[in-house]
């Protein structure tokens, strides 16, 4: 008896001999596996490249070893001294402002909202500000003939119709545009960037008159610490020294936490979509292996007759399948690994860093592991079937049993492989909850499509036996019979096409809903402009300026301050237990206001509003959702740091806020008598007809250079464009799934070609015309495509609904056009592929198939 040790080399020898037959029949196998692995490897490599860049350029991105951000106020002398004692300090200020061409007379020319940044002579401490022409920052900003210099994004020049060397007006000051910005090392990535960058020197800022009490301005103090300093320890010491400073402090160790979190999340979604492509590819792998092993049944029976044990057969063909699989995986890894090199430049447009293109072993290893596990999970069953091929088939070629369930041990191994795949997906994900939902969703989707395929076959069987079809419509009966006959590719087609389609429908619906929310559904009451930084003494004049423009309406003004929540019910904010969903409220300064009467449209859901003449201890009305996430009750207290002063107020009411109304809303509204004395500005909203928009901005900004106008529609379009880019990335990956699905579909149909040709020949002998055969096959594929599309539409809609409402927490609208377009496309695709295969089958000459010799 041959031992297991001796059997393995023999199995490998048999595998090698079988491989001499070439890769015919394995092309789809290779392509499906390679593409699936490539998708995952590409996303992983790209993510690692960006991650590497974010970490590598952390100091440049942060602007220093540490960054201290203060809202509304500059650092006190003591604070500044403490910073200077530690290292080199670079100060900058950021605010929004309106600019225009200096030559344009008042009342003419375009006004442009810019993100203004004023920097000192040490800027940037790390990295370089890339300018065109390549001049030094000193040359770019210095006063020349009494005029300071400025540098700007090319967009500023394009939108104002200016050239370098021309001048712009910024507040009360005039600047000469000396260079355009190619790369700003510490530019933040945010959806709330409302205009292009304009950069001037700190020395020039006072002349603009833009900094007024209460202005929305952010000061950054970046420090370059001496070598060997411990940035985190220094920050901790600073926090002890100035406990009430109210600044946000970061060290380079954690330079871009939100960006990194955001990118990790995107990478996770893309990886999961890539994994879907691989799962669909797995179906193709299973089909190819099954078709191959069916063709080898006689060889296997011969080997068994000659004394080969079942185990040897299994090992030999497992080795052969894995040899081919490893080729596919290697191709996929190679494709995936080059993606960062191809896309690094294009990504620079979206990211603050240049992706570090390179080979990243960890994501490649992960993609390879996915490939190996997928191969194992999808080939185990056909391999087990081949192992159980009865040697008697050489003597008695009765058909194999129509359905054969795997043995218990095989079923357990199959489950084990599937579980390992799921475990890998969950373990390697940054957000395990999402990965878990994905695994559950994938299992449910595969099960739903398998069930649908069974239902299609069962319905076709029932329909084909109805008297009407039996007696009157043989073409239809033949087509229906093709859907349920033994070995029909119904399940393969429905699965391979359906999963990709489900993804596309879901992505289309989520994207459609998000875009609809930010662009299409501008609420009826939404203002056209937000005006910010209105000084209290400018209110009257602002009112006059707005009302003087025909076509404006709905002017509302409210005081606006910035403050940071420091304690919830006496517990320091950083130690409070809150729902992470509302963590953003505590992360930085929030806008707040005060009012004697409830804001128009406010919906008080608990507690009551204070009397209009209230003059007691501080009260606050809070956003109900935030209150829920902070576990706050009526009567609890909230402590807010407003410009260094702590205000503790008791919660008097909760308001349900409809943020999407885009009217003036604040998380916190204080009772009168608390904040009136603090430096503050006003914020106003105005509705304007299309014709009144430009005149309105001119009227306000000509009169008050410090007031900035935010065009609501443009701001939303900018956000929509970012969303669109993300959706494109997801759609591109989802398209991978559809491509793999189409390959698998094509493979399933190609495997059918022989049978289809034979059927066509026999039917032609029996008198079937080409038209009858074509009609039969078209009905068959029409039904298959339509059924797959219908199920995919339903499942995709469900997934889209869940993602939109549960993960994105957005409003849901069913978008029939998005679904119908995808569904129609899929039906046509199936018909086209089916038609192509059928056409070839019909073209075959019958005689060669019918000859005996």
């Amino acid at each position: 008896m041959r031992s297991a040790d001796a059997a393995l080399p023999l199995a490998l020898r048999i595998a090698r001999r079988e491989l001499r037959g070439g890769l015919k029949g394995f092309r789809i196998f290779l392509a499906a596996l390679a593409l699936g692995v490539a998708a995952i490897a590409a996303v992983g490599s790209l993510s690692a490249s960006v991650d590497g860049a974010l970490k590598g350029d952390a100091k440049a991105l942060l602007g220093g070893d540490v960054d201290l951000t203060l809202a509304h106020r500059e650092a006190s002398a003591a604070e500044y001294r403490a910073m200077q004692a530690a290292g080199l300090v670079s100060t900058s200020a950021e605010l929004r402002a309106m600019t225009r061409a200096a030559q344009a007379k008042e009342g003419t020319g375009k006004r442009l909202l810019v993100e203004l940044k004023a920097v000192d002579q040490h800027y940037p401490l790390y990295g370089a500000l890339e300018l065109t022409p390549p001049i030094t920052t000193a040359a770019a900003f210095a006063a020349r003939d009494g005029v300071f210099g400025a540098v700007a994004d090319t967009d500023v020049l394009a939108r104002l119709g200016l050239k370098l060397g021309e001048r712009i007006k910024l507040g009360d000051a005039t600047f000469e545009l000396r260079a355009t910005i190619g790369r700003e090392p510490d530019r933040a990535v945010s959806a709330f960037i409302l205009g292009p960058r304009l950069m001037v020197s700190m020395a020039a800022l006072p002349a603009t008159g833009l900094i007024q009490p209460g202005s929305i301005v952010r000061y950054n103090y970046r420090l370059k610490l001496p070598g060997g300093s411990d940035a985190r320890a220094w920050l901790a010491e600073l926090a002890r020294q100035f406990p009430d400073a109210g600044w946000r402090a970061h060290s380079f160790h954690n330079a871009t936490p939100r960006l990194q979190e955001f990118l990790d999340r995107i990478a996770l979604y893309l990886t999961l979509v890539g994994l879907t492509a691989l799962l669909v590819g797995g179906i193709g792998v299973a089909n190819a292996v099954k078709a191959y092993l069916d063709g080898r049944a006689t060889t296997i029976a011969i080997l068994k007759c000659l004394g080969a044990p079942a185990r040897l057969i299994f090992q030999a063909y497992l080795a052969e399948v894995f040899a081919i699989a490893l080729c596919g995986i290697a191709i996929g890894l190679a494709l995936g690994a080059i993606v960062p090199f191809l896309l690094a430049d294009s990504l620079a447009h979206y990211l603050p860093v240049l992706a570090h293109a390179g080979l990243h072993p960890a994501p490649l290893l992960l993609a390879a592991a996915y490939g190996v596990l997928t191969t194992f999970a999808f080939t185990l069953w056909p391999l087990a079937e081949a192992r159980d091929t009865p040697p008697q088939r050489l003597f008695r070629a009765l058909a194999a049993p129509l359905r054969q369930w795997p043995r218990r041990v095989d079923a357990l191994a199959l489950l084990g492989a599937a579980a390992a795949l799921a475990a890998l997906a969950i373990a390697s994900a940054g957000d395990r909850r999402i990965a878990l939902w994905f695994v559950a969703g994938a299992v449910a989707t595969l099960a739903a499509f398998r069930l649908s395929a069974w239902l299609i076959a069962a319905s076709a069987r029932a329909a084909a036996r109805t008297p009407f079809v039996l007696s009157a419509w043989p073409t239809l009966r033949l087509a229906l019979a093709n859907l349920y006959r033994p070995g029909a590719p119904t399940a393969s087609v429905v699965l391979s096409l359906g999963v990709g389609l489900t993804l596309l429908v879901a992505v289309g619906l989520v994207e459609g809903n998000l875009l609809r929310e930010v662009t299409e559904t501008l609420p009826a009451g939404a203002p056209s402009y937000f005006f910010i930084d209105i000084q209290p003494d400018q209110l009257k004049g602002f009112d006059e300026a707005v009302r003087g423009v025909e076509g404006t309406s709905g002017l509302e003004q409210v005081p606006s301050l910035r403050g940071r929540i420091t304690a919830l019910n006496g517990v320091a904010a950083e130690r409070a237990k809150i729902n992470p969903r509302s963590a953003w409220v505590l992360e930085s300064d929030r806008g707040l206001t005060y009012a004697a009467i409830p804001p128009p449209g406010a919906r008080i859901v608990a507690g009551s509003w204070w009397p209009a003449d209230y003059a007691g201890p501080p009260l606050v009305s809070l956003d109900a959702e935030v209150a829920r996430d902070f576990a706050l009750k009526l009567g609890d207290t909230l402590t807010v740091n407003v410009l260094g002063r702590e205000v503790t107020a008791r919660i008097a009411s909760f308001r349900e806020i409809e943020w999407s109304s885009l009217t003036l809303n604040f998380v916190m509204v204080f009772s009168p008598g608390v904040l009136e004395g603090a430096p503050q500005t006003f914020i106003a909203t105005v509705k304007a007809s299309a014709a009144a928009e430009e005149p309105l901005v001119r009227a306000v900004t000509d009169r008050f250079a410090n007031i900035s106008a935010i065009h609501v529609k443009e701001a939303l379009e900018a956000a929509a464009s970012i969303l669109g880019s993300i959706a494109s990335a997801v759609r591109l990956t989802a398209l991978f799934t559809l491509i793999v699905g189409t390959l698998v579909l094509a493979g399933a149909l190609a495997a059918e070609h022989e049978r289809r040709t034979y059927d066509a020949v026999v039917l032609k002998v029996l008198g079937a015309t080409r038209r009858t055969l074509l009609a039969t096959f078209l009905i068959e594929y029409g039904v298959l495509g339509a059924a797959a599309a219908a199920v995919a539409s339903a499942l995709g809609t469900l997934v889209g609904y869940l993602v939109t409402t549960r993960i994105m927490e957005g409003a849901w609208h069913f978008l029939p056009a998005a679904v119908a377009g995808t569904a129609l496309g899929s039906t046509l695709l199936t018909l086209a592929l089916g038609f192509a295969g059928t056409w070839r089958a019909l073209g075959e000459r019958p005689a060669p198939y019918l000859r005996n010799e």
């Binding site: 049978r755 026999v762 008198g767 080409r770």
Partner: protein, 243 residues
């Protein structure tokens, strides 16, 4: 050696100076060289000859499954010249039944579906009822829902016979129908074939290597190298098969 119809009877198959050349890797191969043949309605003709003599090709031509390189063919009063593929398919549907050595059943259709399909194609309303009767007539009434793979060789050929006779064709073409069967099963199939033919008065063109089977026909046509080298009445049309 040209053959003519006996006086007073109509020729259901007529081949005049038929040539067939097929392309192969070695160039054009002459398969049939000037065949002249007429077969009367109701006649049974055994087509014999060595392998490669052109028997199957001749049958393919008569079935309209192959087109002659030269010459004229008419079957059941229909000249094939100028008929397209679909017209020939309709012609077969209405006039011809074929039995193959390799059965050529559709493996993914049950026996009942295999027999019903030509009836369905002919637009016959009660196709399945008739197919069932046909299968019962060949002794397969209990196996109608079996797939070909689940039937023995003899059963498959009986299904093929039921299929060939289902539309009650005027002409039955049989290409070595017992070639894949053991002797006893083959005899039973031949018995069945001649019995069905006799009952329905079907014209039969039968290819066989078995002289005993050939002798059961009215006439024996012998082919060699693509030519008819002998065409005569069978010695005895009543010779019983050895029991």
């Amino acid at each position: 050696m040209p053959t003519r119809s006996p006086p007073g009877r109509e020729a259901i198959i007529r081949l005049e100076d038929v040539h067939l050349k097929l392309a192969s890797a070695a160039g054009l191969v002459n398969i049939l060289n000037g065949i002249d043949l007429a077969i009367q309605a109701g006649e049974s003709v055994g087509l014999v000859g060595p392998s490669g003599s052109g028997k199957t090709s001749l049958m393919m031509l008569v079935a309209g499954l192959e087109r002659p390189s030269e010459g004229r063919i008419s079957v059941a009063g229909q000249a094939f010249a100028g008929l397209d593929e679909d017209a020939l398919a309709r012609f077969r549907r209405d006039n011809v039944g074929i039995v193959f050595q390799a059965f050529h059943l559709v493996p993914t259709m049950t026996a009942l579906e295999n027999v019903a399909i030509p009836l369905e194609l002919a637009g016959i309303k009660d196709a399945f009822a008739r197919a069932r009767v046909g299968l019962e007539a060949v002794g397969l009434g209990s196996r109608i829902h079996h797939y070909p793979g689940q039937l023995s060789g003899g059963e498959q050929q009986r299904t093929a016979l039921a299929r060939a006779f289902a539309t009650e064709p005027r002409l039955l073409l049989a290409d070595e129908p017992t070639g894949n069967l053991d002797g006893k099963t083959g005899e039973a199939i031949i018995e069945l074939l001649f019995d069905l033919r006799a009952r329905r008065g079907t014209t039969l063109l039968l290819i066989t290597h078995d002289p005993a089977i050939a002798r059961r026909c009215d006439r024996i046509v012998r082919l060699a190298d693509g030519r008819i080298i002998d065409d005569r009445r069978a010695e005895s049309t009543t010779t019983a098969l050895p029991q």
